[in-house]
């Protein structure tokens, strides 16, 4: 009896774990314009249209997809508990129908050995396209595993580089530095809309950058925020709120709340607080901390990425603390990556020929950088409508 029950429980656990790797529900995201407007160096680029291979950015690849075999595509990330990853997985799943592919999302949950081992395992199961949503530390090893397995792959939010810093594979990522700067610029341009009677004493202005330095894709937003803040508020005080200090528990709204609470209360000399959360969930924590510390009249919170902001807005948030978010389109991201995989699997393009205008100088592979758009209570509905229009 015990053995039977044990087997049943084990089976339940396996089923539950597989269920976790499944699809997720619709998540808000993007601006439909296939922007991606800067190069890694920050140089402006024209809005890309169809390339020489005819593979568009920001809109679904046209063609007779139904007339061919169904491809199998997998999104391999570290965790699906991040809103961003969940949104990517969700949109990639939705694109399976128009682009005729079967989709699975899989999360390593910090088991990096499993991540590498599962690349050939998925390839053996017939998966032809891989979206690698993994940190820099595993990027090269993952690339080698994919090359060895002979599959098409694209890196999500990570640049795969060689030891000399040259980009050696295609990727779609956020314009991390620029988006950080956009968020701070917005605060500079709009603080008067919220603090109508205030004059800012530069020395008594503080900006908390809620970061998680152990994840390079997030940490890359810090220089954009810090530099822009130093430029716009030269006397202001920058607080590096690094949630990595709280360990794994730091990567949550609760973590953002704990660290913001500490920084607010340990620096009562600061008269006006700006908070830029490099991930949207942490903005919720910083907002609640401001409410709980009774400093709502002197705190403005914005975030990079907007899912949490959209959730607050759709939940009728009426406060004036969490006021805006730099929305980076997960839909645009997912469309670019899905197009890339379908085009390279079908032979319409190769990693070397697709989107050459996005190659680094002297490089052979594109590095798409998706730029964010600031959204507020007044503009988020338009943003959602545009995003919805991107998908069939």
């Amino acid at each position: 009896m015990k053995k039977v029950l044990a087997i049943l429980l084990a089976a339940c656990m396996v089923v539950a774990l597989f269920a976790c790797g499944g699809k997720t529900d619709p998540t808000p995201s993007a601006d439909p314009t296939p922007t991606a407007a800067t190069t890694p160096g920050g140089e402006e680029k024209p809005t890309p249209g169809p390339t020489t291979d005819g593979v568009p950015l920001g809109k679904i690849l046209e063609g007779d997809h139904a007339g061919r075999e169904k491809y199998k595509i997998v999104y391999m990330c570290n965790t699906l508990a991040w809103a961003w990853n969940a949104a990517i997985a969700d949109t990639l799943g939705k694109l399976g129908e128009p682009l005729n592919y079967e989709f699975t999302a899989w999360a390593a949950n910090n088991d990096f050995d499993a991540y590498l081992n599962n690349i050939p395992a998925f390839a053996n199961q017939g998966y032809q396209g891989f979206v690698l949503g993994i940190d820099d530390t595993l990027a090269q090893a993952s690339m080698e595993a994919c090359l060895e397995a002979g599959v098409s792959f694209v890196a999500e939010s990570t640049t795969i580089m060689d030891k000399d810093g040259l980009c050696i594979w295609s990727s779609v990522q956020q314009a991390q530095v620029k988006n950080g700067g956009i968020a701070v610029q917005w605060l500079y341009d709009h603080w008067k809309d919220y603090w109508t009677d205030a004059t800012l004493d530069g020395q008594k202005v503080g900006l908390i950058g809620l970061n998680y330095s152990a994840v390079s894709g997030i940490n890359e937003r810090k220089p954009g925020v810090e530099q822009k803040f130093a430029e716009l508020f030269p006397d202001g005080k920058f607080f590096d709120g690094d949630l990595a200090a709280l360990g794994t528990t730091g990567f949550s709204a609760e973590g953002g709340n704990q660290l913001s609470t500490q920084i607010y209360s340990q620096n009562p000399d600061i008269e006006k607080w700006f908070v830029v959360a490099y991930v949207d969930d942490w903005a919720i924590g910083a907002t609640r901390a401001a409410e709980q510390q009774n400093i709502t009249d002197k705190t403005l919170v914005v975030s990079i990425q907007a899912d949490a902001f959209l959730a607050e807005m759709s939940n009728n948030y009426t406060g004036n603390v969490y006021v805006a978010a730099c929305a980076v389109s997960s839909t645009e991201f997912a469309i670019d990556m899905a197009n890339y995989l379908v085009a390279t699997i079908s032979g319409v393009a190769t990693p070397e020929t697709i989107w050459p205008e996005w190659n680094d100088a002297g490089g052979s592979y594109p590095r798409i950088q998706v730029e964010g758009t600031m959204i507020t209570r007044d503009t988020y509905k338009d943003y959602l409508a545009k995003q919805a229009a991107m998908l069939p």
Partner: protein, 331 residues
């Protein structure tokens, strides 16, 4: 008698930890005078509450020789659960009670794995932790679940204002539970049976204590408190995230063990656990106050645990020596 008690206190684990805490507070205050400001103390009290609430159920389990490594994910799951049922329009007091019952059910399932199927608590609850984490993701779709019921927010966010100082409600829950469970452990038959089964299972069995029954009650209790913790945290954030609280149980366990609760069971108490937890949380808070670089903060957090353990080790040695000397004198 009083002199004896005083001498015993000075030789106790708690005294060593309190001494470390005092030195630490002085040092951090020298680094940043706002470390002992009303605002920071209030914020500290809010922050310690999550690990503190989890510690209450965990300490009882540890003393009995059991452990629930799923407590953090149970709290997380309960947070998602309460946010979801509140979304259906249910009044928050009803939702809170149902959530606590849901937590008790999670605890009951853990107890089933340990007491009926005979799995080790350590392994069984690691497995369940993964299941709850996965279920939290499935239910939430990997994104935060926001709460529109504004009546629920004060449960985690309300503070009693006393001049400049605000006493946060979650801290009051924590202290009240620590006191109630401390009294149960110390002064009731059930409390003594927890120590007995943790200290010597065979002796407990021979004394007529139902080990399975006590263990089941403790797992249910731990699950219910974890669910309450999850609900309070969700109220505080006005939203529930699929990553919230997970991992906090390790802080609770570290604080408890530092405060004298044996991982093998049979010894320790909630008072010591609170002091241990206080030390860890106050230290983390202080590191932010003095703006120590992040990665050094991680090193320092491990360092303070080691220092406390070393101080405790020498304290324990001196206690054993004193006991041996007393025994020799008596002989």
């Amino acid at each position: 008698m009083t002199a004896q008690k005083t001498s015993k206190f000075f030789r106790s684990k708690s005294f060593a930890l309190i001494a470390i805490i005092i030195v630490m507070i002085i040092a951090f205050t020298l680094g940043n005078k706002n470390y002992i400001s009303a605002g920071n103390i209030s914020g500290f009290m809010t922050n310690i509450s999550t690990a503190g609430l989890l510690a209450v159920g965990m300490v009882c389990l540890l003393i009995s020789g059991n452990v629930d490594l799923a407590a953090g994910t149970e709290a997380c799951m309960a947070g998602i659960f309460v946010a979801t049922i509140l979304g259906s329009g249910m009044p928050w007091p009803v939702a809170l009670i149902i959530t606590i019952l849901f937590g008790a059910a999670m605890g009951l399932f853990n107890a089933f794995l340990v007491n009926v199927l005979g799995f080790m608590g350590f392994i069984a609850t690691i497995g369940m932790s993964s299941v709850y984490k996965g279920l939290a993701l499935v239910v939430s779709n990997g994104i935060n679940v926001s709460i529109s019921n504004q009546g629920f927010y004060p449960l985690g966010a309300y503070s009693i204002q006393m001049g400049k100082f605000a006493l946060p409600l979650p801290f009051i829950y924590t202290v009240v539970l620590f006191v109630i469970y401390g009294l149960i452990l110390k002064y009731t038959k059930f409390g003594r049976s927890i120590y007995l089964i943790g200290g010597n299972r065979n002796a407990a069995r021979l004394a007529g204590v139902s080990i399975k029954k006590v263990s089941t009650i403790l797992y249910i209790n731990c699950g219910a408190i974890a669910a309450f913790c999850g609900a309070v945290s969700t109220a505080k954030m006005n939203s529930a995230g699929p990553q919230a609280i997970s991992g906090t149980e390790m802080d609770s366990i570290a604080g408890a063990v530092l405060g004298g609760v044996s991982f093998m069971g049979g010894s320790g108490g909630l008072g010591g656990a609170f002091i241990g937890l206080f030390l860890i949380s106050a230290f983390k808070n202080g590191l932010t106050a003095i703006s120590l670089p992040t990665y050094w903060q991680t090193v320092a957090q491990g360092g303070i645990l080691l220092i406390a353990l070393v101080v405790d080790y020498f304290g324990e040695r001196s206690r054993v020596s004193a006991l041996k000397a007393e025994a020799a004198q008596a002989a």
